[in-house]
Symmetry: C2
């Protein structure tokens, strides 16, 4: 009877209304109904991406959309710049290497945001860099970058800018067209409140031009094939159509609340979590914290691999521990999607109680009260 709350920074909790869509009888995808659905989903996604461009939906993990953003854009031997400040920045670098790009890496201290000037300098030093890959919200370190300024800097050059927005789109302010983010990429299992299984991306005209000039070893992820199919409401290969039906439902929910209201509520929850950590004398890992996920440092003397296990095992709160070099050092929990103020309080209360269970001296409720101060008056 233990109630299970999925607070990991993805997959996130899916509203029951959306889950029920997934239980509907499967339909065929080469039908007028599916074509109308995909076109409608495209329009709704455009708003979430803040773009006038089409949004392509690929069946796969978020990584498949990241792969598309690399494999279509950077030809063998061409130079790309990967900004690496965490596990997902490393993925951009590894994708570039896998596809034979000449990868330049800008290594950033984990938990800090890249200084856009560093990107400007790198592009000035090597003007033949054809594309820049950044992580808007680095899930592994819970760090957000100033994507707007990065886009401004890259926009002054011929390079294409791709951004991993997997834990930003639908959670943090992200304006693809206004800012000039050429290829924003996201996945279904984060702020879009769906199970994993869909990757999404859009491409600016600048990006499409580069893609048209690039000969690349690419088939399943070939963006022009998705573009051509989408014009008719189709996908080039059998889509995960039940997930797309459910996506329609979750996008309707987001739009009913209003995208900017969703951003604001996410931000408020994140601020509440950070204030709670401060009140508990705990350090937030990131120097530039993302509003979609918070990483709290495990206090000295506490087993950081045990902490998320106690939160899940004793309290039913599934949070994430640290990855790679942060293993055992942080716990991470999500503010994206289908979480509200009381979930945030449960995150804080559960952290307090689990820390206490592990022998840490905690003033139970101190974090909760600090979070409440931020959240009060704003509704659930």
């Amino acid at each position: 009877m233990i109630k299970k709350r999925l607070f990991a920074p993805g997959p996130t909790m899916v509203p029951p209304e959306v889950l029920l869509e997934l239980a509907r009888p499967v339909t065929h995808h080469r039908t007028a109904e599916f074509r109308a659905l995909l076109k409608e989903v495209n329009e709704l996604l455009k708003v979430v991406f803040q773009t006038e461009r089409d949004v392509y939906v690929l069946t796969g993990s978020g990584t498949v959309a990241m792969e598309a953003a690399v494999s279509n854009v950077v030809g063998r031997g061409e130079k790309m710049l990967a900004v690496v400040g965490g596990k997902f920045g490393e993925r951009w670098r590894d994708l570039g290497k896998a596809f034979g790009a000449d990868v330049r890496t800008l290594d950033i201290e984990w938990g800090t945001a890249v200084d856009p000037q560093q990107i400007a300098d790198a592009l000035k030093a090597e003007p033949d860099i054809v594309a820049v890959y950044v992580t808007h919200s680095e899930t592994s370190t819970a760090t957000a970058i100033d994507l707007r300024t990065v886009a401004e800097v890259v926009g002054r050059t011929d390079a294409v800018l791709a951004a991993d927005c997997i834990t930003s789109i639908g959670a943090l302010e992200m304006r693809a067209d206004a800012w000039g983010v050429d290829i924003p990429v996201t996945g279904s299992q984060k702020a879009l409140m769906l199970p994993p299984g869909l990757g999404m991306l859009s491409c600016s005209e600048k990006a499409m031009d580069k893609i048209a000039r690039t000969e690349a070893p690419v088939y399943y992820t070939r963006i022009p094939a998705y573009a051509k199919s989408l014009a008719g409401g189709d996908t080039p290969y059998t889509p995960a159509n039940t997930l797309i039906l459910a996506l329609k439902r979750s996008l309707d929910m987001i739009h009913a609340e209003g995208l900017e209201a969703v951003w604001a509520a996410t931000s408020l929850r994140a601020r509440a979590a950070r204030e709670a950590a401060a009140a508990l004398g705990l350090r937030v890992f990131s120097k530039s914290p993302s509003d979609s996920v918070t990483a709290v440092c495990v206090p000295d003397g506490i087993d950081g691999e045990k902490l998320p296990k106690v939160m899940a095992g004793t309290y039913g709160l599934r949070v994430a521990g640290g990855q790679s070099q942060l293993k055992g050092k942080v716990v991470r929990f999500s503010h994206m999607g289908y979480v509200d103020a009381f979930d945030t309080l449960a995150q804080v209360a559960g952290l307090e109680m689990a820390l206490r269970d592990l022998g840490h001296s905690v003033a139970l409720g101190a974090g909760v009260a600090a979070a409440q101060k931020v959240l009060a008056g704003a509704g659930a």
Copy 2:
């Protein structure tokens, strides 16, 4: 209130028990529970693939697993042989071209099975062909090949044999290890009775050896990454974990009935459909018909694009029309997965009624009676 029956050769109908699994709350995939699930699914899939080798589950369309079977195996400039007798054979050829292989094509008349000797001859003429790609059941023409003999022929050479078994695994007899099919590939939305979204494949030792020797531009579909992760019960990228949970359920259903019993029942339904067509004076398109899908030729004077529309619109029976060169010439319906004898009778009865509606002279019930004769005594 019209009851809708999905009789297309994929996606196919999903049992309600399996649909309900999809509506369960989403869980996290980096947990002991998911690792145990994936290992269990792997064991169940091995039986369906008839292999002792691991079965890798990729999040994506069936095409993503086909891509993996090409991109990992054939290095740039290496020779591969694609046997092309329909739209899905063309996909092998196109995948090879996309990844820079030196593609040899063996073009087969649509609706006929390749003569294994032709493959033997091709391999003898060009012994530097490193891999052969065939389609066990060509969905576009509803044609099955003698995969066992093809595997015998290819097994005498150093070439790796990959087979598109997307509409064969779980429907037709297919024994990967006993026959020597090095890389069988399937998808979730056919005989495995799930929505689209998962691609699956296994690799023989011979295939893994070739993969280890091949440097390829591949990341998301890199088979060794799936192999390494699966050893620990993981996937390299976020899996469509709800689909995998549902897959467990559908595999349990298949194994409860028994794989060979499922093959036999599929075969019986197909034979019933073919006998019905004959009784109605209709031609089955394929000269080597697959038991997973039947393509019936549209009689002269009848609008072949309208026929499936009438079956769907008036009768709620979603069948597929023809693709590419068969557009307007055939209707295709599935015998895979969650269909029974009475569904087969509905397919036949609906075909009779729709043909009559379109002005074709039909002895209503003649096809149904012929199908009943085949099905009677065997249960539902």
